[in-house]
């Protein structure tokens, strides 16, 4: 609908030994879009994210970010272009206070260039970001060690680390996993806030009901192949998708 295309993935494939983790996957992502990526375990979703963010080089295919070919670029260079990601297995810097965890992205070339020295005290910037994410400023939570945070807060910290980079695209690798329904419900407005700020999201999820509340487009993967793409409601009606998740009709 005329939205600027941020991410253009064409025919990306990656095989590990004999295993085709990702096979010929293509899609596009426009500004402000929220694209969900779903599929059974082992479908290649995390490998896809690793390829998009530069942690793995694909065997073939291209990834274009705002027209620029980023295939095989180093992960930190890709992050500096505005593509941030969360990690499925979160490992915050445990012994450091929460706000110190944001110091690393705030020291990236992207932020340094954007701020041009006018950022001031990084610590207070970090606290501001945390407040924006939903950490109550006065409750001393930002000062607690990151390892001691409960799960919901740790997930938000992951997102905070992405936001600190002032990204244009965030790839969320299972941010909803492990959270309760109410925690997810409080996280969704946060994600919608990002979208309103013009950030596009790619969300790998297993929690389909919650995902469909935010996503306007869904990509389904199975065995590394994209088996369906479209709006959430239509996707779930397709036979291949049902077969992938539920296993097809049992013969009577």
């Amino acid at each position: 609908m005329g939205a600027e295309v941020l991410l253009d993935v064409r025919g990306v494939s990656k095989a590990f030994g004999g295993v085709h983790a990702v096979e010929d996957v293509s899609f596009t992502l426009g500004r402000g879009e929220v694209m969900g990526v779903i599929g059974p375990n082992g479908a290649g979703k995390t490998t896809l994210v690793n390829i998009l963010t530069g942690f793995i080089k694909p065997d073939s295919g291209r990834v274009l970010y705002k027209g620029k070919n980023i295939t095989g670029m180093a992960p930190n260079k890709i992050a500096n272009l505005g593509l941030a990601r969360t990690f499925q297995v979160m490992r915050p810097y445990h012994s450091l206070p929460t706000y110190k965890n944001l110091i690393v992205p705030l020291n990236s070339p992207r932020i340094k260039k954007a701020a041009a020295g006018k950022l001031g005290d990084l610590d207070s910037v970090a606290i501001d970001i945390l407040e924006e994410i939903g950490f109550e400023r006065d409750a001393r939570v930002p000062y607690k060690t990151a390892g001691s945070l409960p799960l919901g807060y740790q997930k938000r910290l992951e997102l905070a680390r992405c936001i600190a980079l002032r990204p244009e695209v965030i790839l969320c690798d299972e941010v909803f996993s492990g959270l309760s329904m109410s925690e997810i419900s409080s996280m969704i407005p946060l994600l919608e806030k990002f979208v309103m700020q013009g950030i596009a999201l790619i969300m790998i999820e297993h929690r389909l009901r919650e995902l469909f509340r935010v996503a306007n487009k869904v990509l389904v993967m199975n065995f590394g192949v994209k088996i369906a793409e479209g709006r959430p409601q239509e996707i779930m009606k397709q036979d291949e998708v049902k077969a992938a998740y539920i296993g097809g009709e049992r013969s009577k």
Partner: protein, 295 residues
């Protein structure tokens, strides 16, 4: 020209023999066995002592010392490394320390009557004396034995890792530790076996190659350097890469000696390592684990 080819091949197989023990251990357990070089030298000295001080048969001494080498490898793993698995800093440091204990310990003098192994007098006899002429080049029989053992070993190891249960489990752990563990392969036991095997291979290389020269403690450092260089160039963790790199380095060094003189050998080795690190950092046949290899 022929001499370069022949000696290049011999050199390459020599390097491969030296490096394969280290590569095996690293591939399976991801622990760098710095003690590799020290076990090499230790075996040399043990054989010498058994033959000269105890008067045992040469062949028997070799077998005994290979067993000792395997045992030492096993003990190093069991008593030191096993407690440090998962702590990469400590693994590296302790492996390094153990290697120095052995290497420098062999140089000790006057502790409890232990006369250190110092000086150029320690020589192992070659298995067969004499030379043979091949394509106009004189080659010692011992060197041919090196080649023969190298080829037999290569075939033997290939068969071992592809057709025996133990070898397959080592290969499995080398490829993907977690997946192998899920299939019931015991990681610690495999690491222990690989250490024993790697040490025995070091010892085997020693008994074959040392007769070509003297046995000194310095040799331990040289062997370790060659092994490390070959493994880096071939790709840490890739066994085929080790062999390939051994040939590359072996020939490169012989060619440079032929063209520029022997003094440039070290420089050529250093240069090759730097070149590989710059151009293809994970080595010639470096593994596919890109997430871990490149940072």
């Amino acid at each position: 020209m022929e001499s370069v080819l022949i000696y290049g091949a011999i050199n390459s197989i020599t390097f491969a023999l030296m490096a394969i023990g280290f590569s095996l251990v690293y591939g399976v357990s991801r622990v760098p066995n710095f003690a590799h070089g020290s076990i090499y030298v230790l075996v040399g000295f043990v054989v010498w002592s058994l033959v000269n001080d105890l008067g045992l048969n040469y062949g028997l001494s070799i077998l005994i010392s290979l067993a000792i080498a395997a045992l030492i490898g096993l003990c190093v793993y069991q008593f030191v490394l096993i407690r440090l698995r998962g702590l990469p800093t400590s693994e590296i440091i302790s492996s390094f320390a153990v290697s120095l204990i052995i290497l420098e310990g062999l140089r000790l003098q006057g502790i409890g009557g232990f006369k250190g192994f110092i000086g150029p007098n320690y020589v192992l006899k070659p298995f067969l004396d004499g030379k043979i002429e091949l394509f106009g080049v004189f080659v010692d029989y011992q060197r041919l034995i090196v080649v023969a053992v190298g080829l037999v070993l290569a075939i033997g190891l290939w068969l071992f890792t592809h057709h025996t249960k133990m070898g397959l489990s080592l290969r499995a752990i080398a490829q993907d530790e977690q997946a192998a563990m899920m299939l019931g392969i015991n990681s610690d036991r495999s690491a222990m076996i690989s250490m024993a095997l790697g040490s025995a291979l070091a010892g085997l290389a020693a008994v074959i190659i040392l007769p070509l020269g003297n046995v000194t403690c310095e040799v331990g450092y040289h062997v370790l350097i060659y092994a490390l260089a070959v493994c880096i160039i071939g790709g840490l963790g890739s066994w085929a890469g080790t062999v390939l790199a051994a040939f590359l380095v072996g020939f490169a060094m012989k060619v440079s000696t032929h063209l520029f003189g022997a003094v440039w050998e070290s420089v050529v080795l250093v240069g090759t390592i730097i070149l590989v690190l710059l151009v293809k950092p994970s080595g010639l046949l470096g593994k596919q684990k890109e997430l871990e290899e490149r940072v």
